[in-house]
């Protein structure tokens, strides 16, 4: 389809997808994004996040939102396809989970409104449907688990189930006990802050310690309940739901746009004059951050060129500043190279990092993904920098938008490493070496949480130990496991 191709037949990328998505059907849009992800033509976190958000916007826009559960299922199934296309691109999963969280939140608010004056403990508990707990344990290892240590009231689950049918928030919890607890706390609070102690006083659960007997409570079918809600309110409520959800997703898209400038706003709080800062890769987030500080302060930046995967882009960023916005998802305002703002920039090969570390004041890294325990996946070479910084007691600062923060807990970090093109290391033309060697070229490094001193996100600065709270604020525990078909 002509509109799907760049006019010069260049490699399709994010711009292609965004253009094509205006014309094509949803299904072909999904297919297109899946193939772009599989072929790594939509590459880094930001592009993946943008593409996913756009796609989900279209998906939801096309759905007739009668039943939030169905909508959630639909989004989950689309999300599953996207994630399986490129499991290591965690930003895709993050956005899917954010959208699911948005849907749930909007639905809660909508159903909480008629109830707001009746926010009683007993009604608080009842609403959710529950199914027999699954054996899946993945969600139970999510840090969301620890974040909401609220007492639950289980008594209400069994007792007054019928009375609050008309105020069911249509939330399902699939997995186990404590997550169900969390659900019970959410409803009455429109803000739906998990972990708020407000609920502590609302629900003096005497039966909190009583585990629910699985399977004994009858699942409340959603449709009639929803029908009841629909009866109670007008159909305009369902339309409002959809437009609420869509506008929240648009806010999410806006957030993706301003992430870099929000992070850069705090630059002057972290960089003083005369500093020597070490960084690597051509990350535009880091460059914007440094540029924001360079306008007011004079300091020196040492850039490690990150061979073999990013060195050309790093050279170009050092010399030219911002990448041209060719639909790669970069925000529109270009920025000058640091040298044009009077900053001294010293370029070094990656091998010289340890040699110079004793003269460095601060290390700034940009990750590919931040994992729930505070560790991160960053461009290869970052673990050397972080270890050397630890050896010399140099603080390590990581700049990352919230969209990069994943609720997934890494069991096997080696699984998350992506491998790159070996011909960047040794050209295929060198036949003798091609025959006799194995060439490996990892693209990412895993950097443990103990090596990081500070995270700067678009919400401000946090210690690595605080990330779990941010995860809890943005994602719902039942969304952590997207792969189970439920």
């Amino acid at each position: 389809m002509p509109s799907a191709m760049n006019s010069f037949g260049a490699t399709p990328n994010l711009a292609t997808f965004l253009k094509a998505s205006k014309n094509n059907s949803i299904e072909s849009g999904i297919e297109l994004l899946v193939s772009l992800l599989q072929r790594r033509q939509v590459r880094n976190s930001r592009q993946s996040a943008l593409a996913t958000a756009h796609l989900l916007l279209r998906v939801i826009g096309q759905e007739r939102v009668r039943d939030v559960q169905v909508l959630i299922k639909r989004v989950r199934s689309v999300g599953r396809r996207l994630i399986s296309a490129q499991p290591r691109e965690m930003a895709v999963g993050n956005i899917v989970r954010r959208v699911l969280g948005i849907i749930r939140e909007v639905a809660e608010e909508a159903s909480a409104e008629p109830e707001s004056e009746v926010a009683s403990p007993s009604s608080g508990g009842m609403r959710e449907l529950h199914r027999p707990a699954l054996n899946s344990t993945i969600s139970s290892f999510s840090p969301l688990h620890q974040s909401s240590a609220l007492p639950a009231s289980f008594h209400s689950r069994f007792g007054s189930g019928d009375s609050s049918n008309d105020s069911t928030p249509l939330i399902q919890s699939f997995s186990d006990l404590s997550l169900v607890e969390q659900q019970q706390q959410r409803p009455a609070l429109a803000a739906a802050h998990a972990g708020s102690l407000f609920g502590l006083f609302q629900q003096p659960g005497s039966a909190r310690n009583t585990p629910p007997v699985t399977g004994t409570s009858t699942p409340i079918p959603s449709t009639p309940t929803k029908g009841k809600v629909a009866l109670n309110t007008s159909t305009s409520e369902t339309i409002d739901l959809k437009s609420e959800i869509l506008s929240s997703i648009r806010e999410l898209l806006d957030e993706l746009d301003v992430v870099d400038s929000q992070i850069a706003e705090s630059a002057l709080d972290h960089i003083h004059s005369g500093e020597v800062i070490l960084t690597n890769t051509s990350s535009q987030t880091v460059q914007r951050f440094l540029t924001a500080a360079a306008r007011k302060r004079k300091f020196t930046v040492v850039v490690a060129e990150t061979w073999p995967n990013d060195h050309q882009a790093t050279h170009s960023t050092i010399v030219n500043g911002s990448r041209p916005n060719d639909g790669t998802g970069e925000p529109d305002e270009p920025f000058k190279p640091l040298t044009a703002l009077g900053t001294t920039v010293i370029m070094i090969p990656d091998s010289a990092v340890f040699a110079l570390m004793s003269r460095i004041n601060k290390v700034i890294l940009a990750p590919h993904t931040v994992l729930a325990d505070g560790s991160l996946l960053a461009a290869s070479g970052s673990s050397t920098i972080a270890l050397a910084a630890r050896a010399h007691r140099v603080p390590v600062v990581v700049l990352s938008g919230i969209y990069k923060l994943s609720p997934v807990y890494p069991f096997d970090t080696a699984e998350l490493i992506e491998w790159g093109d070996p011909s960047k290391v040794i050209d295929y033309a060198d036949g003798e070496l091609v025959d006799s060697l194995t060439v490996s070229n990892p693209i990412f490094d895993h950097v443990g949480a103990d090596l990081i001193d500070l995270y700067i996100t678009n919400l401000g600065g946090h210690a690595p130990s605080y990330l779990y709270r941010i995860v809890a604020d943005h994602y719902r525990p039942e969304d952590v496991d997207l792969m189970s078909k439920a």
Binding site: E305, S351, L437, S440
Partner: protein, 507 residues
């Protein structure tokens, strides 16, 4: 009063060149035309002064200085003043008509001036030194702004004072073998401390063979200072020498100096030749064999040996272990810009050893598989630290983080009495151009009108504030090194000064 304006006029272009103070002669020497001209200039100056009077006080001074470079037709004294202003030693002659603040003129030549006494009615003359010409901004004849230094300030002590010698700039007393060697150094055709030392001593053998003692001196006295030293300086200019080279040179000089003057030249040269051979054999060839044999014992069956760049000793060890029949795998780690690891991988691959090749960025992953790290050295310092190719410290760091033993293979000729705590004080800086990618070319200046020219890193010299640093070595802390194997045995890094005293102090 004033001197001869004409005379001063004629001298104005060489304002600085006037040796004798131009004395003021009376005004009366002026022709009417000149008077008219002068009056006109006065008027202009007055207007300019009024304008400039709102500005800083120094402005008129500056303007006066600059204006004086042009044709001067001041009232009387000012021409002399103009001529004199470049001669700071001049006694101030006439007083300025207008009291001017003593604020120092930008040019210090004004300092001697005495801007007192408003004895006369204030015309727009500011100071003795100024002319009354209006403030014409002088076209910049100040010296061109010095080109920004592209040396990284932290390492400015390491940059070579002179550029590397070329074929045309080689001094003429350099022996051709040494000259060839120097260029092999600077192009990294011969790279690696051991190789450089051996090549240097062999080149000296050739040079000594062609040497003849001039009449009147003895070989012992003449050769060191007049023959060897220029050769050594040339080699240093091509590339700074390493510790083992320094030890070799010291050994050679000692051998030369100890030659009995009564020995005839042929015999002396034979003796020197044999000494060099003995040194090479004892301290490099046989030593290498001994170290390799000892190190082979460290490679167990099914080991995964990780090494960095290309060390001749590590290569010998791995080849010997392979020939002894041990099954093992090698991970070669490599870095820009020298890609030495590639050469090692090639050599090992040819011998049928299983080799994995990875860039330095993949070290974290490679270290998970490694069971042993073997490193070569440029030198071992007396505080137990290792000086080796830049990047070695990162390898050792990851190894100690992953609990993989690090063994350094190092001949005693590389041990030194020096100590270092960082990689900044003692190091070598290579030309930054080596870091540029081969396919980038500097953007040409043609076609600049087409808007934004996308620059490449090859234009780095034109970009102010951008520096490229190409370090050659780094210092690995002793705590990351498990063991050092030299010909005297296997020792912990803290024993290096002991062995150094044993092996090298006698040299």
């Amino acid at each position: 009063m004033a001197d001869t304006p004409n005379g001063a006029n004629g001298n104005v272009p060489e304002k600085k060149a006037e040796p004798a103070p131009a004395k003021s002669v009376g005004d009366d020497g002026l022709t009417p035309a000149e008077k008219k001209k002068r009056a006109k200039e006065e008027k202009q100056a007055r207007r300019a002064a009024e304008k400039a009077g709102a500005g800083t006080s120094t402005a008129p001074v500056t303007n006066g200085v600059e204006a004086s470079n042009g044709a001067v037709q001041p009232v009387g004294e000012s021409s002399s003043q103009a001529a004199q202003q470049q001669q700071p030693a001049q006694v101030p002659r006439a007083q300025p008509r207008r009291p001017v603040e003593q604020a120092a003129a930008p040019t210090s030549t004004q300092h001697g001036r005495n801007p007192s006494t408003a004895t006369q009615p204030p015309p727009p003359r500011r100071r003795n030194s100024q002319s009354v010409l209006p403030a014409v901004p002088k076209p910049a004849s100040k010296p061109p702004k010095p080109k920004e230094s592209k040396d990284v300030p932290l390492f400015s002590h390491l940059y070579a004072a002179q550029p590397r010698p070329t074929l045309l700039t080689t001094p003429k007393d350099i022996h051709p073998a040494i000259q060839a060697l120097g260029f092999q150094y600077s192009t990294y055709a011969i790279c690696g401390s051991t190789a450089r030392t051996a090549a240097m001593l062999l080149a000296f053998k050739a040079a000594i063979a062609d040497y003849t003692t001039p009449t009147g001196t003895s070989l012992a006295r003449h050769m060191t200072t007049h023959f060897l030293s220029p050769q050594i300086e040339f080699l240093k200019a091509c590339r700074p020498i390493s510790e083992s080279m320094g030890n070799g040179i010291r050994f050679l000089k000692k051998a030369v100096v100890e030659i009995d003057p009564s020995v005839d030249e042929g015999e002396a040269k034979a003796y020197l030749r044999d000494s060099i051979d003995m040194f090479l054999r004892e301290r490099i060839v046989v030593t290498d064999r001994a170290i390799a044999t000892a190190a082979v014992k460290q490679i167990k069956q099914n080991a995964v040996v990780l090494t960095y760049a290309k060390s001749s000793l590590v290569e010998k060890t791995l080849v010997e272990a392979h020939e002894a029949g041990t099954q093992f795998k090698v991970i070669c780690v490599d870095s820009r810009p020298l890609y030495e690891g590639r050469n090692l991988a090639r050599t090992l691959g040819r011998r049928g050893i299983e080799v994995e090749y990875t860039p330095l960025s993949g070290i974290a992953h490679a270290m998970k598989d490694a069971t042993l790290v073997l490193l070569g050295a440029r030198s071992m310092l007396s505080n137990g630290r290792l000086v080796s190719r830049v990047g070695t410290a990162s390898i050792a760091l990851h190894a100690s983080h992953a609990d993989v033993p690090v063994i350094v293979l190092c001949e005693s000729v590389k041990f030194t009495g020096k100590v270092a705590l960082d990689s900044v004080v003692l190091n070598e800086i290579a030309p930054p151009e080596e870091l540029l990618l081969p396919d980038t070319t500097p953007t040409t200046t043609e076609g600049e009108g087409e808007g934004e020219k996308v620059k490449t890193l090859a234009d780095w010299r034109d970009i102010p504030g951008l520096q490229i640093l190409n370090l050659m070595y780094d210092v690995t802390p002793a705590e990351y090194i498990r063991m050092v194997i030299c010909e005297y045995g296997s020792l912990p890094p803290s024993s290096v000064p002991v062995v150094h005293r044993l092996a090298n102090e006698g040299v």
